[in-house]
């Protein structure tokens, strides 16, 4: 009786999910199966066209690499911040949390433009480098893979820090005392106790950052410029500018499928490492 009641409560959510997630996805899948832009006949031509072309495969690989890079970078910078958070008193925690959330209060377009201003030819970094005499010519920072990586990582950073904070905060402090009492130093305690126990947070953060970074349309386009191409802009271009909906839909499905593969891989990796901790 009890479980049945619960099941009924899930119905609105399930209906919402079917109506607004499953059905539109089915539609995109359907469109992707037309053979040409005029949508006359059906077939898997679009997928063959995409995957058979090294130019397209390169775009896919660069998009995935950019997203994975953002995961690594946001972990490297996010972990110390999240760890610092657990060491602070309540009052300071509040201030730090506000600082972490602050970027999320402005739109990603604004944050992206901030990076354009920082990395531009006459931007902050070049002004400083030129002023200090480190370089003679302005460096080309904007419109590079590195620029996209740094900007996307910073913009998605809160997605990494927040799950990490909750995961680090849940670690029983007696475990740390026990580790110390058993003779482990600070680093050993961190590597053997804290890090493994924070894996669920790292995992959740990695998933969120990866999915967001792979589809960071605005930042990829504005910081990457017209000579770099990522999957989200490719979808927009083919659908809206080239009016080739079937090809655009197939790019969308391929992006979705590869992101899912990576997500499952991260999940499996996490489950293994958790098994290692507890086993």
């Amino acid at each position: 009786m009890h479980t049945r009641g619960n099941r009924w409560l899930l119905m609105p959510l399930a209906a919402f999910f079917v109506l607004f997630v499953v059905a539109p996805l089915g539609l995109v899948l359907g469109v992707s199966l037309y053979t040409d832009a005029s949508m006359g006949s059906m077939g898997a031509v679009q997928y063959v066209k995409f995957l058979g072309d090294p130019f397209n495969r390169q775009i896919l690989l660069e998009t995935l690499a950019q997203a994975l890079g953002a995961v690594v970078l946001s972990m490297a910078f996010g972990y110390p911040i999240a760890y610092l958070y657990t060491l602070l008193t309540r009052g300071w925690q509040r201030i730090l949390l506000f600082a972490i959330l602050l970027p999320m209060l402005t739109s990603s377009v604004v944050r992206t433009f901030a990076w354009v201003v920082i990395l531009g030819r006459e931007g902050l970094i070049n002004q400083l480098a030129l002023g200090a005499g480190w370089v003679e010519q302005p460096l080309k920072l904007l419109y590079t893979q590195g620029a996209v990586l740094v900007a996307v990582s910073q913009i998605e950073m809160p997605m990494m820090i927040l799950p990490l904070i909750s995961s680090l905060g849940a670690i029983d402090s007696r475990l740390l005392d026990a580790s110390k009492a058993l003779g482990a130093g600070r680093w050993r305690t961190f590597i053997r106790v804290i890090l493994p126990l924070s894996v669920p947070g790292l995992l959740a953060g990695a998933l969120l950052v990866f999915a967001a970074a792979a589809s960071a349309f605005v930042t990829q386009t504005l910081v990457g410029g017209g000579r770099l191409m990522f999957m989200p802009f490719y979808i927009y271009q083919q659908a809206i500018q080239s009016q080739d909906y079937p090809f655009a839909a197939s790019i969308a499905m391929i992006l979705l499928a590869t992101v899912l593969v990576v997500v499952v891989a991260i999940n499996t990796l996490g489950r293994r490492s958790r098994g290692f901790v507890h086993g």
Binding site: L142, Y143, S242
Partner: protein, 350 residues
């Protein structure tokens, strides 16, 4: 459901018209209370808000809801919701309009409700009656006046080694990009149907290219940030930058100025066809077009009574000169646009 709503609205409108009978044109159809219109981002949006919207309000008593949207995006949005379109009247570029002209998404204009059409040269009215040219954009050589002391005179100047890393391109996916590439093809022996010479030019200029912009708006910020010194651009973006103190100017290419025309259309299945007609009528009026053609907007007029003044007068003295500027044959270009966009992707990608 929809039928019902329409019937109720009709009944209400009839009752209103009978009761009010104000005599003010546009107000006689009281059921039409809202109008959603699109414009382009930048000078168009600013000038439409400052000039067209107040004029439309004065004529109809209705405050139009203006949405900035690029032509290709607008067409996609209408196509996605044909039965209940999100806009009543839309501003498009010639290219995207002609590509969708036969798709049945535009209403034939009621000529009797747009009296200002009589002030338009005949070739500025679409032969199918589905729209009218409301304005034009002039494009030429945009350059940074501080770093480039003598104005470039030809597109071929982009190939000079002194401009290494200083040239800006705009993506083939934009109207400006398509029009300019077609122009490059034409002056190098090609045409809208043979863009090979244009792609050859891109190949040659690529070592000098500092950035490729996705659209004209981004191209303008590239000048502002000192990222590029030389590119193709529209007069109103360049004049807007100049007004902000950015050292830029527009020069005439020896192959002549380029012209891109914009069109306005009543969307099929609109709930406010009369307001949409009134909106187009205002957009074509001498007062609105005259003001929009002056500083700081410089949107070229299509009303034959409009006078060319200021920066616009320096480029063309009247309509006949404007019409002689380099134009794009979109009918020929459109069918191959997707292919050209793909080719452009491959040429510029690092």
């Amino acid at each position: 459901m929809k039928m019902q709503r329409r019937n109720i609205l009709k009944a209400l409108g009839a009752a209103g018209a009978a009761g009010l009978a104000t005599g003010i044109p546009g107000l006689s159809l009281a059921q039409e209370k809202t109008l959603a219109a699109t414009t382009f981002p930048g000078a168009w949006e600013e000038s439409h808000r400052a000039i067209l919207l107040p004029a439309f309000r004065k004529a109809t008593g209705v405050q139009a809801n203006l949405v900035a949207s690029l032509a290709v995006d607008t067409v996609a949005k209408i196509n996605a919701s044909r039965a209940a379109p999100p806009f009543d009247v839309v501003l498009l570029d010639e290219g995207p309009y002609l590509a969708t002209r036969s798709e049945g998404i535009y209403e034939k204009m009621p000529f009797d409700k747009i009296p200002n059409l009589k002030d338009l040269p005949e070739k500025f009215i679409d032969p199918t009656g589905q729209g009218a040219f409301v304005s034009a954009q002039i494009y030429g050589i945009a350059y940074n006046t501080e770093r480039i002391k003598t104005a470039p005179t030809s597109w071929n100047d982009m190939l000079k080694p002194e401009f290494k890393g200083r040239i800006g391109l705009v993506s083939m996916g934009s109207t400006l990009g398509s029009a300019w590439m077609a122009e490059l093809a034409r002056i190098n022996g090609g045409s809208e149907e043979n863009m090979e010479p244009a792609f050859e030019f891109i190949k040659k200029v690529l070592p000098n290219v500092g950035a490729v912009a996705a659209n004209p708006g981004v191209l303008a910020t590239l000048f502002q940030q000192g990222q590029i010194d030389f590119s193709v651009h529209y007069i109103n973006n360049i004049e807007a930058l100049r007004a902000k103190g950015v050292p830029v100017a527009l020069a005439r290419p020896d192959s002549n100025w380029g012209l891109v025309r914009s069109t306005m259309h009543i969307v099929k299945n609109t709930k406010s066809p009369d307001l949409a007609a009134a909106y187009i009528n205002e957009a074509l009026s001498l007062e609105v077009q005259q003001k929009m053609s002056e500083a700081p907007y410089f949107v070229a007029p299509t009303n034959k009574n409009a006078k060319f003044t200021g920066a616009l007068a320096a480029i063309a003295k009247d309509m006949s000169e404007l019409e002689a500027f380099r134009q794009t044959d979109w009918i020929k270009l459109n069918p191959r646009r997707a292919e050209y966009i793909d080719r452009f992707n491959r040429e510029v990608k690092v």
